[in-house]
Symmetry: D2
Subunit: 286 residues, 4 copies
């Protein structure tokens, strides 16, 4: 892991980055980002935004630009989608995370987005990375579908090298030979990132598994593995979702998950507390 | 997932297999199997066995036959190793899990082993599967390093088809392009297995990550994902381990992990309890 | 392979695309594109261009924009590099293939390039694909490092859907677990492409293997598998190459390879002739 | 590639192993092994054997023990199959290659087989490797579906270390994310093997691609890449094949392939001759 001048965890102070978005602190609190895969309509987006807010989500996700395998698949609503997200933020107070796919769009998407997402397919789109490195919006950098930790951190380095220090890493599943789930969520990357980098890391169990029934256990597992948050696809009416229908979580399932996460969070918190007490105790006895 | 006549979860009764080994019930309790990668000496094995027993492990692992990439690497102590395991069991009461690699060894290894392990490299060694299918010892079937869920369950089917119903599946990491960890632990396979099969599934975070620092968070994550247990490599003196040194956990780190697992277990238990209460409550109101 | 309206081989006329660049016909002749990985200086580029021209290459390759894993690695000479390529073309008459990585660069890079290359990392950079789909330069579309045939052809479809029909596919090796070679060249993709698409396909054995000793046999194998050409990295002074040193072929080795390719080409040509004669013969006898 | 004491190419004499089976010399001539995937009946086997003999094949393949993913799939005829192969040899004179899957079968299968095949799933079945290392039959060692060159050569080392020096390596395709072909044939492994080991290497384009239309070009490509032979599945009546129907080649297609291989062989031979002449010429001038 050489040449990661800005991304590496300093062995001196071991200081970790906390990315602040409005009142949300990624890298400090466990953060839940939720919302539809893509912004389909004002009604769908605002209805979903209210539901996830109600259940306790901290931020709203929603795609206005959708990179799709086929040129004939739904490509997103573009500017109209961004305006809907802006309205959803006004109504719920939730900061907005949305994807940007073209370096020419970065500056004006910043008018609508609180966090700029770089998708897995664009992880090594260096022109785009340099562009988001120049603006004052945090960047959610998804891991490429077959990238190593080293390649991923080098992409973060591209952003940091341009001056933008606010990068949030996001594990979203890698391509393996397993076909039962859509991708294979690599939770081992979470403690691995923590070991070598100061950047916060969240997990996307929706894309990471592509299977509704697997999302809840993997969300809990992500927290247990030490992730700084999760990003979940919630849709007010999953069977009508225009994309990624099989992984869209209905609002009531999401609300139940949030309760479990809260229970697990306090359990994990106590563990950490115990650990700190032991350290304090040991230090007193020296 | 066709033709898995015996391995599939019945959609009628959804009954799950519980494998009983002495007083340990795999599929009911969360089970921790711990011990050295390979049996190196009586002293090393018994010392380690005592330590893991003390920390609360339920079973002892240890290899007497070691399948190694190179013919010139340490191949295990064979019969002598089995005798040491037998002694370790007498001293600690822990049932013994050990690997068998040759169909000709199955019958006599049963004299010493409480559970027969089939390693990842032998997952599709059908002669061996048929042989362990004929004996009355539970089988711990590791997932092949690049096997799909369907291929794995078909291997379990080979064992069940011979009459042995006591198969415990074990996820031990798959080969991916990530090199920071030795393998990539696929925790998503845990809820996937639960969805299609009645067999219990445990997780091996030691081989699955190959990195001491990642084992603890992945053990907690395995529990959070719904695994029925974990199998961990513990060595009384890791730096002297004859194989897989980098993933050998010292006894005190293991003891600390066991405490965290206990805390997490009661948290998970409450969540399940809440879920059951809600169901009971709903049923009363019908 | 649904929805590949423009990229599919028509089952009616089975007509294949021939891409014409100056006097080179890709899809008709076997084409050899050669030159340095990156344009490093006027001297290096022109010297190499002359050597490959002398040995019989049909086109010149050379990177002015280099997408590199690390932001601190040599990123290419940019415009200056393009001007050097232009000069090399003037001196040798070889048409120029060069990579474009940013949608904002497409229009002006066209002033210098005869063929626009889309690199493996940008295969699914849809903004870039749409942009090169709007200009009148042929596009050399490399396969992504872990892309399926279907994903790749969908990317070609993005270009064709914008109006540019001149796409040349390029297999450049996929990432596998083999580490002896840098990538694994998938020659089976050549007849596979021929079976489903009318687009020409060439092979890059330099990136595909990353190992000088393996490039010659794989170049011959590519021809035997039915490829429409190869693209080879040649450097007038390999040990001084600024990138991908291990795969840079010295001019004399390249010249020897060209002779073998010529011999193999006439052998392959006779085979095809025999096949046609048999068909003609059969038709006469009906 | 350390510790490959017996398998490595000696840097002193660079002597290569030639495995002799009756009058066939693998490692010297280009060898074609052909026949059905599995022995299904006397009629099918002998009919196919005669056809491949007629077309110029050097050896007969046919499986009597079939390792299958599902326990309920056709498992081969066993001893009866071996007797049929023996009869086919008597009728055609072709030496027989057949798979062995269980260490307990090795000694008696030797009564019927001229070459013992170790399948991809058993590449790391070390008990089996040690057993075939003790008999006086050449071993055809297939590469595991996701094995590296180093792992593979270590398996050959297991055989050689037991005393059997006659190992033929066989590339049979690796598992990748491409689904158009069943596996991805890694022809780059051919020159890679030649670089580090003295053992001969052949290629299996039938399993390696799983697609009839791709087998011919990949057979030619295998020869062009420098392979010592190929092993092809031919069935006298492909649509009735009990296994691997999609890759079974009809006898007339096989005969046409053999003609092309002959043409290519003489072309390749001339290339080698030219190379030798140049060397001789250079040596004379020193």
């Amino acid at each position: 892991m050489k040449n990661l001048k800005l991304t590496s965890l300093s062995s001196d102070d071991r200081k970790r980055t906390v990315v602040t978005v409005d009142n949300v602190k990624i890298g400090e609190d466990f953060v839940v980002i939720a919302g539809p895969c893509s912004v389909e309509s004002e009604e769908q987006t605002i209805k979903t935004a209210r539901k996830v807010k109600e259940a306790g989500a901290n931020m709203l996700r929603g795609g206005a630009f959708k990179p799709r395998t086929s040129p004939y698949a739904f490509q997103g609503l573009g500017l109209q989608g961004l305006k809907i997200l802006e309205k959803a933020k006004r109504e719920t107070g939730l900061p907005v995370v949305t994807e940007v796919t073209d370096p020419r769009d970065v500056s004006w998407v910043c008018e609508y987005a609180d966090v700029l997402q770089i998708g897995a397919r664009n992880m090594q789109n260096f022109s785009l990375l340099k562009e988001v490195g120049k603006v004052d919006r945090p960047v959610l950098l998804k891991r490429g579908i077959n990238s190593t930790l080293e390649e991923w951190l080098n992409c973060a380095e591209y952003v940091l090298a341009e001056g933008n220090q606010n990068v949030i890493l996001c594990e979203r599943g890698i391509r393996t030979f397993e076909t039962y789930t859509r991708n294979t969520l690599d939770l081992g990357i979470v403690p691995s990132v923590k070991e070598v980098s100061h950047l916060p890391i969240i997990v996307d169990p929706s894309h990471g598994t592509g299977k509704l029934s697997v999302i809840e256990p993997m969300s809990l597992a992500a927290m247990a593995a030490g992730a700084d948050g999760i990003i979940i696809e919630v849709h007010c009416n999953p069977c009508e979702a225009l994309c990624d229908k099989d992984q869209a979580m209905p609002p009531d399932v999401f609300a139940a998950l949030m309760k479990k996460l809260a229970a697990l969070r306090s359990c994990m918190h106590e563990m950490d507390q115990d650990k700190k007490n032991i350290i304090v105790h040991r230090m007193k006895n020296i």
